[in-house]
Amino acid sequence: MKLFITTLISAFIFFKASSQPQFILKGKIEFEKKTNLHRQLDFEEDESWRNMIKKSMPQIKTSYFDMYFNGNKTVYMPGREVVSVQKVPEWFDGPANDNTVFTDLDQQMFSSQKTVFEDVFNIQDTVRKIQWKITPDTRTIAGFECRKATSVVMDSIFVVAFYTEQIVTPGGPESFAGLPGMILGLAIPRLNTTWFATKLEMIDVKETTLVPPKKGKKTNIENLKGQLKPVMKNWGKWGDKNIWQILI
């Protein structure tokens, strides 16, 4: 510790002025969502069946989402389409893959539109209170230094987020928010899924863009959960996976 303080003092002496970094208040972020489909199959017992299905689909499904933000409002929606040769069969893809999520961080309210099997839901509820654990670890995503935070949501789902303080809006992809900066990287190991920002465009985002989605049957998290639980109870592990995928 003594050595350390000495280091500190010597560091002060050599310090030279540097310009303050730029803080970003509005813009558009593109997220790349990747799901490892093969890993999702690993709990299937029948090995020959598992291997056969693995061969028929790509290991990783990639899709893109755009997030617009200005001040304390964000809207996250499907972005550019990916053309892949090997298609992911619909029955495997599962629900809630084309979500639009509008979040008003001042009001702590969100409104999201999700396709859940045959129904489109418009879920309106308060922003999830996430107990984020802040860590000293950092990594660079899309050119921004991000700090790692972890949490457990929905009782058992471990989540890792990387946020940058350089973007002032405390938002993130899907319904994840509440860190002192924008979440540019998100990983949910149980769903074998990651979201990482690929780029930030510093564009002007108008109020007309930052509006809640309109389509879908109005519901809230509690009601939706009540509706899903009885339907998914015989689906085994796939049922849990589907519920998590819908509710995140």
């Binding site: 310090f15 056969m52 029955w91 802040i134 860190l179 074998n192």
Partner: protein
């Protein structure tokens, strides 16, 4: 990197307890050297215990911040600013603390870096990356000790009395064997069951999540993990089952199956002997002990299952034929992966033997203009078949773009059968034919197929090329005898007796070679073009010789009219083009193949050649619209030319059934079939409701139909000859649908549906009355309409109950004799019940009942009620054993039965089948895992 960052954090500890009205913290943030105030710096309040974020605020443009309304407790105040080192500040808050940090001075990280790197190097010395690795051989343990005992000796590892392992104070969450989970996720499964001497290395590390592994991105999910790498020669184990079943009389079912694995090698063997209809491995057994299942998939991600030849040796292990089977089968399979799993070899051998005995009877009606023939036949049959089969596959993934697959399979078999028939045929006028007939055959058969498939994917997505070579050959040779006596009566007066006593030598050899080249090219986004070209060469020989018995009692006189020997040579060139569009909602394709086929038919006995050539077209189109993931609509069209088969052209008579003789027709043309299919299906997952409907229609131009001539006058009344001819106007359509739903309150599911079919067949009905031939075009219409209903309720590990019924009404009319109508109703009921009882008992029972309305012709009792029941008790650890009593067909009412209606012939067949038996069975599943100890 993480370590550097940890060290970069500056810890400054203050502890202050001040009293005020509401807890709050304020202060100002500034740059150490520049004395410049920092705005937008993040000030976060974290719980001291677990770093959970409680609240955060950003500093204003003057560098000031204030956190208000804070709960009491021990916290860390963290101040962060891009490119600056983190600033930590410990605070204890009570309800009324007002804390002032004063000026927080921040320092640029870059100024701290060089000094710190030195420490990092020192810290890295004892680790190999993030992994601590122990070499197992350095820790001596007693012979036969488990991994657990070895772990106790390793520094830094502790094992508690329950077997939980702690490494550097953290609990081990996962134990892997060679990087993979070992029989579930209980960490002690591996440490208790694997022997220490099987282990090469023990590695302890923080396992990154699976996600991090594929993306290369550390998402921070860490679970302390222990990985055991096994010595190459110790990666072995086995599992299997023994099943014994008997009724203590003449019904038995005994199976032994075992699978052993060692490193990348796998060997499995099985043996089955059964008189209850089990002829081989069933579906589940096949995936564990047999060859890989033939699951295929198409480009849209759909799956379908294909089974092999579809004969009694290849029908997923259960006997589907007529009579009482007794079977023996055995096999072995070996597979091995090598070269980093890029190469994969799989080979298997199978032996099957099947004896069947059984008889049956057939009642049929041939409707003629102004007359109807009734025919009753009884038969007794006995047969034995055996086969030795092999199968081999070799896969080689040369690189990520190119792969080769070689497959070969074949068999050698023999068969012997004797069937005797007695029949009587009577017409409206009292003409009568009595026939006694015995056929026998004994012979060998063999087959070899091989193919090679080379596939290459290009860098450009969607561009692929594939080349396939195929070889097929099959031979069958039999020697047999035909004995028949037909007596023709005019009312009661014997008019004529026709006797046949022949030796039959049949030999059929088929050989074919096929090469196909296919290329796909992405034209624009989502649009692909597939081009293909293929050549097929096929050589076949068909020899059917009949010898009459001569005076010396020897079968030496060749019977010209019932003998033939043909050679065929067919060369087919085909080209195809298909356009495909793969959109998000719409998938569509259209195109087709054109094939030019040149035939040469050589009559070896008569030394003549005939040549034909056909141009065959195979247009197709398909359109799919996906409303959403669970609803889709599909319409497709397939057209195909079908050329006549050898038997249809071959202008020679076959007298295997002396009352029903086939005649070839060398002038037959190809037929062209159009087929349309429409279907729609939708399932609502949340509402648990589903609906489907389908319709299909096919019509054939120049349809290959029959011309049947029945002798109604003269000396051989009742004999029939048939020949294939081209006719128009045949069609075939069916439609159906279903709806299923669940009443959620009582958790009861229902399904109901309907089906309807129309079938029109044209044929020619001729009668021969004392050399006067008269022919009539006949049109037969068969229509049927049915409804079905089912309900089930299921409670996991409690019970499962299911009821299903189907009712249908059938009508059939023929223009040749409209006064004969065949209308009848059938209904089937099926009840299934399975209950799990306490004390590991299980009961299940099912009843299948079929009721068929009697008709003028089918006047016998055709109702079948089959009731089966089973009671079993699981035993041993992990339910590895099962003892059960099964009762098959308790009421002893089973009869083999089928009813056919085709053109102007209506036929009902019944045959001998397995009936009541009781069986006591015992099943034991065993396994042994790597290293040597027995699985619990």
């Amino acid at each position: 990197m993480r370590k550097i960052l940890t060290l970069l954090t500056i810890f400054v500890f203050y502890t202050l307890v001040v009293s005020a009205q509401k807890a709050s913290i304020k202060g100002m943030i500034t740059d150490t050297l520049n004395k410049q105030n920092l705005s937008n710096a993040v000030v976060s309040l974290l719980k001291a215990k677990d770093s959970v974020l409680i609240k955060f605020v950003r500093s204003d443009k003057n560098g000031n911040f204030e956190l208000k309304s804070l709960p009491p407790g021990k916290f860390v105040l963290m101040v962060t600013f891009p490119a600056y080192a983190d600033y930590m500040y410990q605070v204890n808050l009570t309800d009324t603390t007002t804390e002032n940090t004063g000026t927080v001075k921040m320092t640029l990280k870059s100024k701290l870096l060089e000094e710190v790197l030195v420490r990092q190097k020192i810290a890295a010395v004892r680790l190999k990356g993030d992994t601590i690795e122990y070499r197992a051989d350095s820790f001596k343990v007693r012979e036969g000790a488990s991994v657990e005992e070895m772990l106790r000796k390793m520094p830094g590892l502790q094992v508690d009395k329950d077997g939980n392992v702690t490494a550097q104070g953290e609990k081990i969450e996962k134990v892997l064997v060679d990087g993979e989970e070992f029989f579930g996720d209980d960490p002690t499964m591996a440490t208790k069951n694997i022997q220490a001497d099987a282990v090469d290395k023990v590695q302890v590390f923080d396992k990154k999540s699976d996600q991090a592994v594929f993306s290369g991105i550390d998402d921070g999910t860490k679970s302390k993990t222990l990985n055991l790498t096994l010595k190459e020669d110790k990666k072995k184990g086995y599992f299997g089952k023994v099943e014994l079943g008997t009724d203590f009389n003449n019904r038995w079912n005994n199976n032994v199956m075992a699978n052993s694995f060692k490193a990348k090698r796998k060997l499995s063997v099985y043996g089955i002997m059964s008189s209850t209809g089990k002829t081989g491995l069933n579906w589940q057994e096949s995936s564990k002990y047999g060859e890989n299942n033939n699951i295929e998939y198409n480009e849209d991600g759909g799956f379908y299952f294909s089974s092999g030849g579809g004969d009694e040796f290849d029908s997923y292990g259960s006997f589907g034929g007529q009579g009482l089977p007794t079977s023996w089968s055995g096999g072995a399979q070996y597979s091995r992966k090598f070269n980093g799993d890029k190469q994969n070899f799989n080979g298997s051998y199978r032996y099957n033997k099947l004896n069947t005995i059984g008889g049956g009877s057939t009642v049929s009606q041939s409707i003629l203009p102004g007359n109807v023939f009734f025919n009753r036949e009884t038969r007794n049959a006995e047969s034995t078949k055996q086969r030795n089969a092999f199968n081999g596959t070799y896969d080689w993934q040369i690189d990520s773009f190119t792969s080769v697959k070689i497959k070969a399979n074949g068999y050698i078999g023999s068969q012997r059968s004797v069937t005797s028939y007695a029949s009587e045929s009577t017409d409206n006028f009292g003409n009568n034919v009595k026939s006694l007939r015995t056929t026998s055959a004994e012979g060998d058969n063999s087959s070899i197929n091989s193919n090679l498939l080379l596939r290459h994917r290009f860098k450009k997505a969607g561009r692929t090329i594939s080349l396939a070579f195929d070889e097929q050959s099959r031979t069958t040779s039999t020697t047999g005898f035909l004995n028949s006596v037909n007596q023709f009566y005019d009312k009661t007066l014997l008019r004529n007796v026709d006797t046949v006593d022949q030796k039959k030598i049949n030999e059929i050899i088929n050989a074919g070679y096929y090469t196909r080249l296919a290329y796909t090219e992405p034209i624009v986004k989502n649009v692909f073009l597939e081009l293909s070209y293929g050549i097929r060469i096929s050589n076949s020989e068909s020899k059917k010789l009949s010898y009459d018995r001569n005076i010396a009692n020897k079968y030496e006189n060749l019977n010209d009219s019932f003998s033939n020997n043909y050679k065929y040579y067919v060369l087919t060139n085909s080209g195809g083009m298909v356009w495909r569009y793969n959109g998000k909602k719409i998938t569509t394709s259209f195109g087709g193949d054109i094939a030019q086929a040149d035939f040469k038919q050589t009559d070896v006995l008569r030394q003549t050649d005939v040549k034909y050539n056909y141009t065959n077209l195979f247009p197709k189109a398909n359109f799919i619209y996906k409303f959403n993931a669970n609803s889709r609509f599909n319409i497709n069209y397939n057209g195909n030319t079908r050329q006549p088969t050898i038997e249809q052209i071959q202008p020679i008579r076959d007298n295997t059934n002396t009352l029903n003789i086939a005649i070839g027709n060398p002038n037959l043309k190809q037929e062209f079939r159009h087929q349309f299919n429409i279907n729609f299906n939708s399932y609502k997952v949340l509402k648990q409701r589903g609906f489907y409907t389908y319709a299909s229609f096919s019509t054939t131009t120049n349809s290959i139909s029959t011309n049947e001539t029945t002798v109604i006058g003269g000396s051989s009344v009742g004999t029939r000859t048939y020949q294939y001819v081209n006719l128009n106007g045949n069609y075939n359509g069916n439609t159906g649908g279903g709806y299923n739903f669940k009443i959620k309150k009582i958790d009861l599911s229902f399904n109901m549906g309907f089906n309807a079919s129309v079938f029109r067949n044209n044929n020619i009905v001729s009668t021969l009355n004392n050399n006067v031939l008269s022919s009539l075009k006949n049109r037969t219409d068969n229509n049927s309409f049915g409804i079905n209903f089912g309900t089930y309720k299921y409670k996991e590990k409690k019970y499962d109950i299911n009821y299903y019924t189907q009712i249908s009404y059938n009508t059939s009319t023929s223009t040749v004799n409209q006064s004969v109508k065949t209308n009848y109703l059938t209904h089937n009921h099926n009840i299934y019940l399975n209950v799990t009882l306490p004390h590991r008992f299980e009961v299940n029972t099912n009843v299948e009942a079929s009721f068929r309305q009697k008709t003028n012709l089918f006047s016998g009792n055709n109702n079948v009620i089959i009731w089966n029941a089973y009671i079993g008790r699981k035993m041993f650890k992990n339910d590895k054993g099962l003892i059960s009593i099964r009762a098959n067909d308790i009421l002893d009412k089973n009869i083999g039965y089928s009813r056919y209606i085709n053109s102007n012939i209506i036929r009902e067949e019944s045959y001998q089948t397995l009936r009541r038996y009781f069986q006591l069975s015992f099943t034991w599943n065993f396994s042994k895992n790597p290293g040597g100890s027995t699985m619990p």
